[in-house]
């Protein structure tokens, strides 16, 4: 656990001793790293192999494709299922939900961090407490509410992306607000106070000064809520029953729910395609993610 700097290696050290020192100080770190990467990657390799394996069944899948390599599963996925629809639905719902939800929670986080008002402390605690009650436990109530909504406004009822979007917005304030409030707290107050003295309105302070400064945490929370929404299965499963209105989670679950062995290749292909947008955004935002998560973590 040598995380501190050592005095520079002394010149008289023999090459052999240097090598054993390297092993003791750096080499074992690479061993740990490689083992960890192996653990991380082997299920993904398994999925990759299944996706490329034209046999497409679970029993024929191993870490190396046994039946050669082909893109058949990908073609079947688009030809035999509504995968394209699911993909668009998921991207639309998750993208829109994460954008709007981070905007709403950044508004709230700004107010909680910078303003003092009656009920502020209670509001923060209430937010925390409500989050402890998983929205899914209220699914019966939600189902009944949306039965009425579907009767009155079919455009935002069952089987529509908008209804699900509204439902996800219900949880928009919460963990994200806390994470962002922590980040807002780390920005010096002098910044916005001087802007206010110069005659900026509170809206100008928020949009022109605060939002650009909190861009890293916005990126992180947007990504986290995007991942969370794409993976949400139970509520969407109750909500979306039409084949074409399903999201990836619901649709792909249906693929392996019945004939799970035979559809495994298609399922694996779908898994890889689902991962593409997330992995891309992830690599783009990597630098922000580490610092953003930690900054949020520091203040809760």
């Amino acid at each position: 656990m040598t995380t501190y700097a050592h005095p520079p290696a002394v010149d008289r050290a023999a090459a052999g001793r240097r090598r054993s020192r390297w092993l003791a100080q750096v080499g074992w770190r690479h061993v740990v790293g490689v083992l960890a990467v192996a653990f991380s990657l082997f299920p993904i390799l398994f999925v990759l192999s299944a996706a490329l394996n034209p046999l497409g069944t679970l029993s024929s899948t191993s870490l190396v494709p046994t039946g050669g390599v082909s893109g058949e599963n990908f073609a079947d996925l688009f030809a035999d299922t509504a995968f394209g629809h699911w993909f668009v639905n998921s991207l639309l719902i998750a993208g829109l939900a994460s954008l709007v939800s981070i905007f709403l929670s950044s508004l709230a986080a700004y107010a909680f961090s910078r303003m003092r008002f009656a009920g502020r402390r209670v509001g923060l605690l209430t937010l925390l407490l409500i989050q402890m009650f998983p929205q899914f436990l209220a699914i019966v109530a939600i189902f009944l509410i949306f039965t009425t909504v579907t009767d009155l406004w079919p455009a935002i009822g069952f089987n529509t992306p908008w209804g699900l979007f509204l439902l996800y917005m219900g949880g928009a304030l919460g963990v994200n607000t806390w994470l962002m409030k922590g980040f807002f707290d780390t920005l010096p107050r002098e910044l916005d106070e001087s802007a206010t003295m110069d005659g900026a309105s509170h809206a100008q302070v928020f949009f022109r000064i605060m939002l650009p400064l909190v861009a890293p945490i916005l990126a992180v929370t947007a990504l986290l809520s995007f991942i969370g929404t794409i993976n949400e299965f139970m509520i969407a499963n109750v909500f979306l029953t039409d084949t074409e209105s399903k999201t990836l989670a619901v649709g792909m679950f249906g693929l392996v729910a019945g004939e799970r062995n035979n559809n495994f290749g298609m399922f694996a292909a779908g898994t890889l395609l689902t991962a593409v947008p997330t992995v891309l955004v992830f690599q783009l935002l990597q630098r922000y993610i580490v610092s953003g998560l930690t900054a949020g973590a520091v203040k809760g």
Binding site: Y4, V32, L41, F136, I227, V279, A295
Partner: protein, 545 residues
């Protein structure tokens, strides 16, 4: 970007800390006098116009359905929004109201609704009002009497053929009139909207999908159960293409508040306490109605051995699962972060990119993949290591498997945050300990670990709370199994939330009231644990500042 670590290592400038409530700030008064800019005004007009438009669009159906309470709520909310954003006062509210509106409508209201359900017997057989129960009892007792009318029947739906609500399309043999019928009754259809085939069967109708034979036979139980009330009795299906109109054998008599069977003469009297019709010999009719049962659901959870036994066993495993998921991922993530955290390490970026891939994969899909990797016969785990373990067949191996999956899914996140927190720890601190002659282990125990814990404990608590109710992790892998032979309701890997889900929607019949009561217990447990942990972290830093 500031990633300053608060805690023992840093001090806060007192003047910069947030002010206490009620402390007058000059900045606030200055804000009132800020000039209104042209862009600001334009944005305000557009957004408020949008609000007015949405409110108007929402109002029409409410008026049509004569839902006056809903309309009043809508009007009040819209008026409130207009007031809030046109007045220069209430600045904090301007920022808090948009999210709060969603929160109240889609989170708080459903939670309150759920809480009120916990005091009722809502569930299968107790879904609606007493009147609805009486209609259901009468129409389900419909029997064919000699000489009753036989209709040609087509089964249709307005939604998805596999799941949409069923509708009977029937043709009167005497008049040729086509009607659509469901549990609410019969409606005549316009002859122009329907196509009637030979034999009187409807082959197509506007707005409906007529089920083909395969689709209909897949749902034959639902078709048999569907009863369409009519003036003279009710319509029921006989097979998939004929329907008959029959007479109700059981009838409700308001005078004695009871249901009488005209064939056997048996009588069931209404019991308002349990919401059902009970005969003198104790027999209950299947259809009851919803009543308030007070605390009965809660006391049942605690005292009924059929529920409380599994409840406490599940609670124990639930804690083990949440602590295990959080703890193992944290330990592994931190260990790898520490191993890679060295100025002499090369290629850390590559390691990081590869290590966090599991976190970027869609977790719902990877849970299903892991489920298949643990397959006894052709799963990767058994094949790769030459094992023949029936992973999901034994309680302990299933639990171990679930925790391993959680570890794989969760440790990249912990690795990421631990890496970030390590970078934020000032190097001088660890250098100082090494100068003082501490071993690496000592300096880790005394300096690095406490600082890491201070930084990450809010995230650990959040992770615990999330995993406590991680329904996906269980439902998509083991579905709560394996189940003991004598109890199909409660499996070895069931969390309280999957147990509740089965109570609410399970094959044994829905028990929404009991499920809601269990939900409230879960909420109380998670909230208590989190509150205690937050109180402890608060001692170390100003979480509530």
């Amino acid at each position: 970007m500031s990633t300053k670590l608060s805690g023992p290592g840093s001090t806060r400038t007192p003047g910069r800390g947030p002010a206490g409530p009620g402390l007058p700030r000059t900045a606030r008064t200055a804000r009132h006098h800020a000039p209104i800019t042209a862009t600001g005004l334009a944005v305000k007009v557009v957004l408020l116009g949008l609000v007015a438009g949405i409110a108007l669009w929402a109002a029409f159906p409410l008026v049509e359905a004569e839902k006056w309470v809903g309309l009043a709520l809508l009007a009040a909310t819209t008026a409130g929004l207009f007031y809030l954003y046109l007045t220069p006062r209430h600045i904090p509210a301007k920022y808090l109201v948009p999210g709060t509106l969603f929160l109240i409508a889609f989170q708080v209201f459903p939670v309150l609704y759920t809480a009120s359900t916990a005091f009722t017997n809502f569930g299968d057989g107790h879904r609606g009002s007493k009147d609805e129960a009486i209609v259901a009892i009468q129409s389900s007792s419909v029997q064919q009497v000699p000489g009753s009318t036989e209709y040609a029947l087509s089964v249709a739906t307005a939604g998805d053929p596999a799941t949409g609500a069923l509708v009977f399309l029937v043709t009167d043999p005497a008049t040729g009139v086509v009607s659509a019928g469901d549990a609410d009754g019969l409606r005549r259809l316009d002859p122009a909207d329907v196509t009637v085939g030979s034999g009187g069967k409807v082959t197509a109708a506007d707005g409906y999908t007529v089920l083909n034979f395969g689709q209909a036979s897949a749902r034959s139980q639902e078709i048999t159960d569907l009863v369409v009330p009519t003036t003279g009795g009710a319509l029921r299906s006989s097979g998939l293409s004929r329907a008959y109109e029959g007479r109700a054998i059981r009838a409700y008599d308001a005078g004695c508040d009871c249901v009488t069977d005209s064939e056997s003469g048996k009588r069931w009297t209404a019991d308002e306490k349990t919401g059902s019709f009970v005969a003198a010999d104790g027999e209950r009719l299947a259809q009851g109605w919803q009543v308030n049962v007070g605390l009965e659901n809660f006391s049942r959870v605690l005292t009924d051995p059929n529920i409380s036994g599994p409840f406490f066993g599940t609670l124990l495993w639930n804690f083990a699962f949440a602590i295990g998921s959080t703890g193992f991922t944290f330990l592994l993530g931190m260990a790898i972060a520490l191993a890679l955290h060295s100025p002499r390490m090369r290629g850390t970026n590559l390691y990081r990119v590869l290590l966090i891939l599991p976190y970027a994969m869609p977790s719902f899909a990877m849970l299903l993949v892991w489920r298949d990797m643990f397959n006894t016969d052709f799963g990767l785990v058994n094949n790769l290591f030459g094992l023949g373990v029936d992973w999901f067949g034994e309680a302990w191996s299933a639990r171990a498997a679930v925790l391993l999956v959680q570890l794989w899914l969760g440790y990249p996140y912990m690795f990421l945050v631990a890496t970030g927190a390590l970078q934020a720890i000032p190097k001088e601190l660890t250098e100082a300990t090494s100068v003082d002659g501490a071993s690496p282990w000592q300096s880790f125990r005394a300096v690095t670990l406490p600082l890491l814990l201070v930084a990450l404990s809010p995230l650990l608590i959040a992770s615990f709370a999330y995993n406590f109710n991680n329904i996906n992790a269980i439902w998509l892998t083991t579905e709560g199994g394996p189940f003991p032979a004598d109890n199909p309701r409660n499996g070895a890997t069931d969390l309280l939330i999957t147990y509740t889900y089965r109570l609410a929607f399970g094959a044994q019949g829905a028990e929404f009231g009991t499920a809601a009561a269990v939900s409230i217990f879960i909420f109380a447990i998670v909230a208590t644990v989190s509150a205690i942990s937050f109180r402890n972290t608060r001692k170390q830093e100003e979480v509530y500042s």
